[in-house]
Subunit: 359 residues, 2 copies
């Protein structure tokens, strides 16, 4: 049996157990289609979509591929109202608006809705092969409806405890999201600190604690990483940052630039851009908010205030307020088209297994 022939590829109806992480806006329709056409699993992050845009986008992808596609939604809790915190925060942010001479400071407002009954209706209508959720799973009656249509359900765990909760709540497969991963931490039932576990420790413990297929995520950038994840018991891998450098990804030039210089830079987990911990390349806002975590309002309201600053700075060629999401292996990026990347990852993985064949 070849390494990629397993329960996960069988159930997802894909050739290679390589999942492109949804990455919300960064993952374009073209990227998802290219990955699925190459034998992996392309994903669409739909949480920031207007409801009316979801179906057309999914249909656009379907026009580009007839392979399995993963649709992704966020299942965060609605933000708590905290006027004192909000006031302190806006007071802190004001200086940036003054610096960029933006007279109108927007109020904190939700930038995305958690997965709700409207999303559910559209999801059931789209009836994809796979749906994945970030920040836990939706309520049990939603899960039931999704299961009734045989849509495969995936969600992320950052602790062993979370993995057990996901299995008990009906996840068909679980992503073990290591500390190394770029973007939002999937932490939903542990403290964020508890959820900071390196993949070398997290993955084998989740494999031991559950009986569903485990997908490794965080720091995997090439075939060696895929092979290592399989040694630790993974049945699949999810790569985000590695796909960010593909020309199909919708990544702004400043972000692309930061990624290509990432070997000289540091990534860090921060709440500064969205109100929820996420790993990105260190830039001005990340750095300046480092010790002010307490005054940062809940996800997903922060983006409404940061976005205008990001745009203003970007127009002057500065990435100071951009969320430069990236994992700790960002500097290993290849900058090749998604189809080539999937092919290369498979070849590298097969070749490293071959190298150790005579051990």
């Amino acid at each position: 049996m070849r390494w990629f022939d397993n329960v996960l590829t069988k159930n997802l109806n894909i050739k290679y157990p390589i999942i492109q992480a949804p990455m919300a806006s960064a993952a374009s329709l073209e990227l998802a289609a290219a990955v699925s056409n190459a034998g992996g699993l392309g994903s669409l992050g739909l949480s920031y979509h207007k409801l009316g845009d979801i179906l057309p986008d999914y249909e656009a992808v379907l026009s580009m591929t007839n392979h399995s596609i993963n649709l992704n939604f966020m299942t965060h809790k609605n933000p708590r109202k905290n006027d004192i915190q909000a006031k302190k925060y806006m007071n802190e942010i004001k200086k940036y608006y003054e610096e960029y001479k933006i007279s109108e400071i927007p109020s904190l407002a939700n930038t995305t809705e958690p997965f709700n009954s409207k999303h559910l209706d559209i999801l059931l209508k789209m009836n994809p092969k796979v749906v994945s959720f970030h920040f836990g799973l939706p309520e049990s009656n939603y899960i039931k409806s999704i299961k009734n249509q045989n849509i495969y359900i995936i969600s992320s765990a950052t602790t062993i405890k979370e993995a057990k909760i996901l299995e008990d709540s009906g996840a068909d497969a679980i992503i073990a999201q290591g500390f190394e991963a770029g973007g939002h931490r999937g932490t939903f039932a542990s403290s964020y600190k508890e959820g900071e576990i390196g993949l070398f420790s997290l993955l084998p413990q989740i494999v031991d604690a559950t009986s569903v297929p485990i997908i490794a995520a965080g720091g995997i950038a090439n075939g060696k990483g895929i092979a290592a994840a399989f040694m630790l018991g993974a049945k699949g891998v999810q790569l985000g940052t590695a796909f960010l450098s593909c020309p199909e990804a919708s990544v702004s030039p400043l972000w692309k630039n930061a990624l290509s210089e990432s070997s000289e830079k540091e990534t860090r987990i921060t709440k500064a851009f969205t109100g929820r911990p996420a790993r990105g390349i260190v830039n001005r806002l990340l750095d300046e908010m480092e010790n002010k975590t307490d005054i940062i309002p809940d996800f997903p309201t922060v983006g409404s205030v940061i976005k205008p600053l990001a745009n203003a700075a970007s127009s002057k060629g500065r990435d100071d307020f951009l969320s430069l999401w990236a994992g700790q292996s960002a500097s290993m990026n290849r900058n090749i088209p998604a189809k080539k990347l999937v092919k290369l990852l498979v070849e590298e993985t097969s070749s490293i297994f071959k190298y150790f064949r005579n051990s």
Copy 2:
């Protein structure tokens, strides 16, 4: 060629590329000898030794094994004097002394000397097969003397930058110490934050950036972990926590107990016990000093003030002030003698390679 026949085992004159981490006081002479007799590389942490005790201890180990032994020293900088910080710190700690009714509060004092000319003289006299340094390498003329005697030199890196420095400074092999690792972070030329890189990201990047053999450390607890490290380019592994549960380790009952309950507990990196970041199981002091990092004096002075509290609490059966060093895979410990553990690790590694042989 079998997986364990490589440049590292050849140069260290050992059978299996499995190194028992020095772990200062926790690694007994018996543990080091047992690991070396089993075909791995046993290590003695000598930094907290009185000068006069080093040679007798080494001779005691030599009476138990005629295989290679690694001697370990710390190469930290001497602490900076900071009276204001010290005053704030002692003020904070006072309450614990009152709680335990200890009338005499000791002053901050060095608990260990960095590797110096006296250590060098003894090292050259002992002439072991291997010496390893934590917190960087000693000055270049020391390195020269050590190299003149063909003693193999190892040190730890927590960033790619540090690995390059170690290679340029004469290290024969480099330990890539992942974020998962228990005990003191080896960070010496990067910020502690920069040095928080998961092994999945750190290891392959250090392998690519250097040309000496790389030893993986952090979160490795069984053969699957060893195989994964080899996939990522390691030529050897260093395990600390996995050996802590061996009966040969000199681990206090309270520490042992915390390790055996580690699946229910969290580990975290803290400066609270020594003044230098190290990963341990969360207990009272770690928790209560969490947001007071700024007032903690430099390593290695903190121990002089914490030790009496640790002893007083321990005598009442409490681990509140004990440094419960452990890595993020602590709950995967086996509780078997060191000889059996080395044998098991080798068998597991061979068996996982065999499992993937037909891939």
